[in-house]
Each structure stands twice: as C-alpha cells, then as structure tokens.
C-alpha cells in the first residue's frame, strides 16, 4: 500500500487506517528492526507555524528509520519573509527531499501544496482544518486502551477551531463509535464538520455539559480552550472553568475511562489526574513516534529501491 499524500483523515478508509495502526504496532514492538530502513533518505520539514511535539516527533521518527531531515527553519529566517509563495517554496524543497511535512496557518494549504509536488506530502496541520497524523496517534492510543469497536467517546473543549477534533471525528466515523461533542455554544463543531459527519452516517450528539454523559464514556478526549477565542478575560474564565477536569470531576466515570489530550495542556486537566489509571495523554504523545514511523515507512515504502 502506498499513499501519495496524507492531507486529511477523510481520505482514509477504515482498512487504510487499520493498516497504519497495525504497522505502528509492529514498529512499537521492535523499533530496532526498522533502524536502517530509510537510510540516506531525507524528509523536508516545512513548519510555517510554531510546533514542538509534532515537529520533534516527525524528526525522531525519520531518524529512527535511518533517514535524516532538512528543516526550512523559522519563517522569519526563510525566503517566505521576502514574499515567496507557498507554491514556490514547496516546489523548491521538493527537489531536495524524498517526502515533505507541511504545517501552515491557512486552511487548504496542504491540499494546494499537494497539487504542486510529486513526492509524498504529509499535512501536519492547516489552520483550523485537518491534522491527520495526530488523528492516527489518537486512534492508536484509543485502540490500545479502549478498542475502536463499540466505542463511546466524549470530545470536549474547543471544537470549533480544534483541527485535531475535526480530523479525529472524521476518522471515527469509519468505526463503530458513538461520538459526543461537549463544548460551549460559541465553540461548537463547525457546521461543515457536522454536515460531513451526517453524510458519513456517523453517530453524533452535541452537549453543553459533561455530566449527563460521563458515566457512559469509554474515552474522554479533552482539548484546550484558548484565551484568544474570547472577548474578555472574565468570559474566558467563566466558560473555560466549566470544561476543566479537576480531581473530583471523574467520580461518576467508569473505572476504565481513558482520558486523552493532544497536549500542550494549560489547566484543562488537573495534575492529580496524571497519577490515575485514567490518564493516557503522555502515552498518547509517545505514540507519535511509532505512528509517524509507520506513516513515513508506508509513504516512502514503494519508492525505496
């Protein structure tokens, strides 16, 4: 199997997703077996927005496959500040690398970029759009902890601007999952995403509070509500406070509830939760490496001579 590009989780069938997850599990079991798989190959990193874990985990993944990375560096120090278009930048870097990873603040940037290049391109976040590799590691974590069949999941926080949420919801629509979306009205899922999920026949419900559905959840996926989404500090504090998980918030939850978060967190999940069996967010972040190794291996695989 080979994907030409990975732009959105919408493009992936259940079978394709399972291929990636199975391959990630294989790599997770014995990373050393893949240590020289892509020796001499280069991954181009084009991050037009700040990123810590996504960029580092791609770099780690490529190096653990025996390859190396070239990095566009910060936007401030690149030719982009001279007004170069993304289409030009990407066509130049394409000539240097065997595959590309792009993060860009504009929605649709990865779709557009993919029209200009022949090497595999991975979307590592396009504005409020998609973040499919985060979704893959989320799915991997869910599968390890709760399973992807007969799943009841609550997705809570900023559902409007959270690209990880959109990508995850699209992918879960391919599985037997009941999705509950919990957010303030002002940060509810975009109508576009709801439209698509209905088209996919997904089982979705929207709520403004966690309480009524918490006991039924297998997984609770928490995202950060950002201060800049609110006109003033008071409004932010009032709303954000209702969507935080404190030490007592999970009293009514099932014992085997899995709590996830794409990180970084600020105060959405109290540190006390870290020590409980519910917490899976650091494991989730660690899963970024084997999952991205699997994706890169599949993307580069067939062109490997």
């Amino acid at each position: 199997m080979r994907y030409d590009h990975l732009i959105t989780s919408k493009q992936l069938s259940r079978a394709a997703i399972e291929t990636v997850l199975d391959h990630a599990a294989e790599i997770d079991d014995d990373q050393s077996a893949f240590a020289d798989k892509h020796a001499g190959r280069l991954l181009g990193l084009l991050f037009f927005e700040p990123s810590t874990r996504t960029k580092l985990s791609f770099e780690t993944a490529m190096k653990r496959l025996g390859g190396d990375v070239i990095d566009l560096g910060s936007v401030e120090s690149s030719s982009v500040t001279k007004g170069e278009s993304l289409a030009d930048t990407i066509r130049v870097i394409e000539g240097y690398a065997d595959a590309l990873v792009l993060r860009h603040p504009k929605q649709g940037s990865a779709t557009m970029a993919s029209e200009f290049v022949d090497v595999p391109l991975v979307n590592a976040g396009d504005g409020a759009g998609h973040h499919p590799t985060q979704t893959m590691l989320d799915l991997y974590t869910i599968r390890e902890n709760a399973g992807l069949d007969d799943l009841t999941i609550g997705i809570m926080g900023d559902l409007k601007y959270g690209r990880t949420v959109h990508s995850l919801a699209y992918a879960l629509s391919k599985f037997d999952a009941r999705q509950h979306f919990i957010s303030p009205d002002s940060l509810a899922l975009p109508r576009e995403v709801v439209y698509d999920l209905h088209q996919e026949g997904a089982s979705i419900r929207e709520h403004d509070g966690l309480e009524e559905i918490l006991p039924s959840l297998d997984v609770l996926y928490v995202t950060r509500i950002q201060r800049e989404r609110f006109p003033d500090e008071d409004e932010y504090q009032k709303v954000a406070g209702e969507y935080q998980i404190g030490p007592d918030s999970l009293a009514a939850a099932a014992d085997d509830l899995t709590v996830m978060h794409p990180l970084p967190r600020v105060d959405e999940i109290a540190p006390e939760i870290d020590e409980t069996d519910h917490a899976a967010y650091f494991e989730q972040a660690h899963n970024g490496v084997p999952v991205r190794m699997a994706l890169l291996d599949l993307l580069l695989g067939e062109t490997d001579e």
């Binding site: 007004g83 278009s85 993304l86 289409a87 860009h104 603040p105 504009k106 929605q107 649709g108 940037s109 779709t111 557009m112 029209e115 396009d126 504005g127 409020a128 759009g129 109508r191 576009e192 439209y195």
Partner: protein, 168 residues
C-alpha cells in the same frame, strides 16, 4: 406550448397579457434566460459580464408574473449565445432558470440549466483563513451542493449570498 420565443407564461396568456408581451419583446437571434428568481436579473447580467457596452440589445423583465413562481425575472439578449461555462455560473444564482437559444425568431434549443458538480475559477472564497485568498498561483474550485457551494480548499460551505463570491 408555443414554440416562439415568448416566455412560457406570456405565450399561454397572450390574449389577456398583451402588455407583458410588449414589455419583453421577441428577439431575432440570441438568448432568453427565463425563470430567473425575482430580483436576480441584474446579478445574472453582472455575472455574465453583459452590460450593454458592446452595443448588444438587452431586454430585462423584473418581477413579472409567473406560473412557476409568484414573480420571476426574464432576460433577453440579442446576438449572444451562452457558453457552457457561462451556464455553469448561471446555475449558482439562478438554479431554476431556463435557457432558450433563439435563431431567426425560433427557439432552437431550450434547456433547464444543470448544476455542475464543481466550478473552477468563477468564485472567490471569502474565508480569510483560506489558502486561496493569499498570493498563491491557484485557481479557485468549489463543489456545488444542492443548496450551497463549498470551497474545495478550506471546505467552507456558503449557503447565502453566493453572488457576492462571484469573481467578476
């Protein structure tokens, strides 16, 4: 049904709607765009880039009585036949329109407009967060849904005020 280029209702109601007939007269050669939603005639002309500056003869009827709608607009343009691209654009703002091609006073082709699956280069995305709004060498592309259009890049769905998106 009359086969001349009166619009459908005018032909049927000839005896008691003579005044209507005079207002929107027959054309010799050209196009009649009928069943345009009330109030959209000027938008249709703007979208098609027809403004009379090339000397073409244009008749516009706005808010005229209609069987299919309570009121409709109708446009007749002499010596001009619409291309497929023009018809595609037209479908976005006048989905119920009928296009009659007239030659020598006879309607030689009469069709309801079919909405295409997508249109390229005719609309501009108004989402400021969309990659197509920057200085990129990219042609806009929209999927045409039943009651809306959707940017193929940022995936924003536009239901209202589609004429405002038209790249004129």
């Amino acid at each position: 049904m009359s086969n001349d280029n009166h619009d459908e209702e005018a032909g049927r109601n000839e005896t008691h709607d003579h005044d209507h007939e005079l207002r929107v007269s027959k054309i010799h050669n050209g196009t009649v765009i009928d069943h345009v939603r009330s109030g959209q005639a000027l938008n249709v002309l703007a979208v098609l880039g027809i403004d009379g500056s090339e000397g073409e003869e244009i008749s516009i009827g706005m808010n005229v009585p209609s069987d299919r709608f309570a009121r409709k607009d109708i446009i007749k343009v002499e010596d001009r036949e619409l291309s497929q691209d023009e018809v595609d654009v037209l479908t976005l703002i006048a989905p119920d329109a009928t296009i009659n091609i007239v030659r020598e006073y006879e309607v030689v082709e009469k069709s309801r407009v079919d909405r295409p699956d997508s249109v390229e280069g005719v609309l501009s995305c108004s989402n400021s967060g969309c990659i197509t709004t920057g200085d990129e060498p990219v042609t806009s592309k929209f999927d045409v849904l039943d009651d809306a259009v959707r940017c193929s890049y940022c995936e924003t769905i536009f239901r209202e005020n589609i004429p405002a998106l038209i790249d004129t």
